[in-house]
Amino acid sequence: MEIRALRADDDRSSFHSDDPDLDRFLQQFAGQNQFKHYLGVTYVAIEGRAILGYATVAPGHVEIDTLPAAARKKLPRYPLPVLRVGRLAVDHSARGQGLGKQLLRFVLNLAARMADDYGCVGVIVDAKRDAVDFYAKYGSIPVEVMEGASDARPQPTAMFLAMRTIKGAVG
């Protein structure tokens, strides 16, 4: 099994998680978003030709509504660069094998490289309701979004994990 960027000729039709929205995104939108519009990149966990899981990421930035004065003194007044994880899903055939954790580790390492190369203060994941505890276990905190929330329904919870925390875990 390897995790790598989606390729145009990967067979996405046989992927089935328990979430039709996540399946439809991979099958219908991930390719055009990546190869035509360059909006984000989907990384797939693949074995042979079978996609066992995927995570879709894109760069983004966080702006804080009415930043407190004390914080304003410490930080520049421009937006904070982050890596956004819009979707993460595992095929039902690969459930219980730790693939979600492997995909998350891959994404966090990706963000760490982004931080080293051109800046990234942390990772924002759009966590579906049943995944909030999964991300919280790794230290992600829920944030209240005023603008730029996911269009998915039911609306996922945006959760933040700081680069300092990620780097601290690597040691």
Partner: protein
């Protein structure tokens, strides 16, 4: 995904706090050190 995410002041303060003094959980340490 919308590239811009505007968060509330309260959430912004929590983000800044984690950026300033965040410590990894044991689960995160295990995750990042597990090299499988």
């Amino acid at each position: 995904m919308h590239p811009k995410l505007a968060v509330s002041r309260k959430s912004g303060e929590a983000i800044l706090k984690q950026m300033d003094a965040g410590k990894p959980t044991d689960a995160l340490r295990d995750l990042m050190r597990d090299g499988d």
